[in-house]
Amino acid sequence: MAQTHGSKQQAQRLEQGAESLRHGAQAQSRENNVSLSTVSHADEPSQRDESSRLTVRMENTYQLGPTKPFPVATVNHILEDVLTTYLQEAQYDPEFCRQMTKTISEVIKTQVKELVIPRYKLIVIVYIGQRDDQSIVIGSRCLWNPKSDTVSSYTFKNSTFFALANVYAVYFE
């Protein structure tokens, strides 16, 4: 039964691939997509609101660069404040840390937004891992304009776990 199910999914995947080729860059309808990946942890799926897909046509600004550079040092300070405030006295606990990654990423995003930096899009990623006999390597690479786009990063450590927060700022011209 599992074998049959897998085969059906495989066939659907191939069909969708062909459809993508026929339509070039056209995005497929989300409802038709079937995912083959195996998810070990149950987590809230990232559902996108359908109403948010309405395309709003706006005029070009023709402004190729930011009016003021992204304040990396200020954002670094925000990261340090948030991580220290939320995690200073904490001991590692799986449920607490799972919730804390989400809370911290939202808080950091809110505080960076309050800086009101025009035309920058923000991406905040937070990692929390237990400190013990395990090895972790985290790397990232970006395709962007190095003159206007930048990243701010901070690592917090205590005796039981570490936390790493990255803020990527991407200019939208």
Binding site: S35, R53, P94, K113, L122, V126, C142, L143, D149
Partner: protein, 116 residues
Amino acid sequence: MEGYQRPCDEVGFNADEAHNIVKECVDGVLGGNDYNENNINQWTASIVEQSITHLVKLGKAYKYIVTCAVVQRSPYGFHTASSCFWDTTSDGTCTIRWENRTMNCIVNVFAVAIVL
């Protein structure tokens, strides 16, 4: 210019397409390997580099940010979350979770549209 199509006419970022591309990159780099501290830096760099290279070949008007975390398999915990401030009609993200006997790999891809 009849055939010209504005990049943002597409209905946002195709997360499943990116998911397949990145999963192939991770399989290519980590498939069949056990966790090895000597190679792990090179593997991590290869994953993000190959992922971005293949995403660029899609020829879409996006800036990409790819992050990769490779964690040795163990009883100890590891959590990650992200939060974004962008235009949901054009920008998107996808997360790939890959694991084998000795390690877990989590790759996040963020695509940010360039132009209106």
